[in-house]
Symmetry: C2
Subunit: 205 residues, 2 copies
DNA sequence: GTCTATATTTAGATAGAC
DNA sequence: GTCTATCTAAATATAGAC
């Protein structure tokens, strides 16, 4: 009986934790850490404030959990760059995947943007650790292709930075883009074509 | 006598207002609007908290003043694009100027980044108004050059977005860039060369 | 596990002496 | 104009009933 009760509760717990993280993602991505309140998170999650703090000990706790949980997903497209693949396809595929992340997960993009802007208090060791390692690996792959003459030579890390900047910009600065373009534009559709052309021109050896 | 007293006081007023705005720029750019406190601003300005609120009625007031004061300076390089100039030089000059702004004025860059991320509550009418107008003008100039075959044809507004994204990224995501590059790198020097090459390749007709 | 009520802290803003 | 002291509101977190 006790064996049965535990999983049932755990399932509820899991669901409530998910509700909280989902609501918190919305709120944090709109207002940043300091701008967000536990009250807003609770409302977004459909729970009471004390109940939210029953599942997570503190607002800080929720935030840290979100960041670390989502980081892997956020970096996944870079890890998938295949050294055995066709260089141009691989890079263009990465650009496309990253832009698609901005389109589908703008909240995650803004969550990270706030965190980095603030000096990455919760991610400092990760930035200089695993992130740096992942970038080094990808940069080495790119450098290898350049050395083989299969890709226009350039600084591979700044090439990666450029992809981050150009794709995340469409999520993070969405308000500005929409204001400048005016109605009747799908910024992401336009960006997809623009970036495809940009990187094709840039990278063709 | 009264005629003399007024300017002297005004000079002090001006100096204190400047001190406050200078301190506030530092604090807001580090923590965002909600993360910043009037206390921190006062300390950064070397004044007492009530004194800060004597010169500016509210924290919100300081923030709005900063944004509107700095916006012109921030957009100046785009306005300077000269339709009578040499297309490639003009665009490369704009890129260089914008990157130089990121290097010299990272606080301003982050101030705007926070504001846009948050949905630009203080800049909404400006975004859809004068900013859009300025971009439209620059885009028309670019489009004209493209029509004349003096610049590779592409969406001129997304070309502008790309310049914003690529240059501001180095100020706004500075922590991440430094963590990934490690010590011994001058990110801005490297960026200058990288972006010069990127836009040269992209734009050569 | 979930709620109401509340303690506690922080921060924006003001009063009033000097 | 500038300060000390203080008011007030908001927000994090907890206590304790159910």
């Amino acid at each position: 009986m006790a064996d049965q009760a535990q999983p049932i509760l755990t399932r509820i717990q899991q669901k409530n934790r998910d509700l909280i993280l989902e609501g918190a993602l919305t709120v944090f991505s709109e207002s940043g850490f300091r701008g967000a309140t536990v009250d807003q998170i609770a409302r977004a999650a459909g729970l009471s404030k004390p109940n939210v703090l029953y599942y997570f000990g503190s607002k800080d706790d929720i935030h840290k959990t979100l960041l670390t949980t989502l980081l892997d997903m956020w970096l996944a497209p870079m890890v998938r760059i295949d050294p055995a693949g066709e260089p141009l396809d691989e890079v263009l595929g990465y650009v496309r995947a990253k832009l698609e992340m901005s389109r589908r997960f703008p909240r995650e993009s803004r969550l990270f943007a706030y965190e980095i802007l603030q000096g990455a208090p919760h991610l400092t060791e990760i930035l200089g650790g695993s992130l740096r390692g992942i970038v080094d690996t990808a940069a080495a792959t790119l450098q290898g292709w350049m050395d083989q003459g299969r890709l226009t030579p350039m600084d591979p890390r700044h090439l990666i930075f450029s992809i981050w900047a150009l794709t995340q910009h469409y999520a993070d600065f969405d308000v500005q883009i929409r204001a400048v373009l005016g109605p009747g534009h799908d910024a992401f559709d336009e960006a997809e074509r623009f970036l495809e052309n940009l990187y094709r021109k840039l990278l063709e050896a």
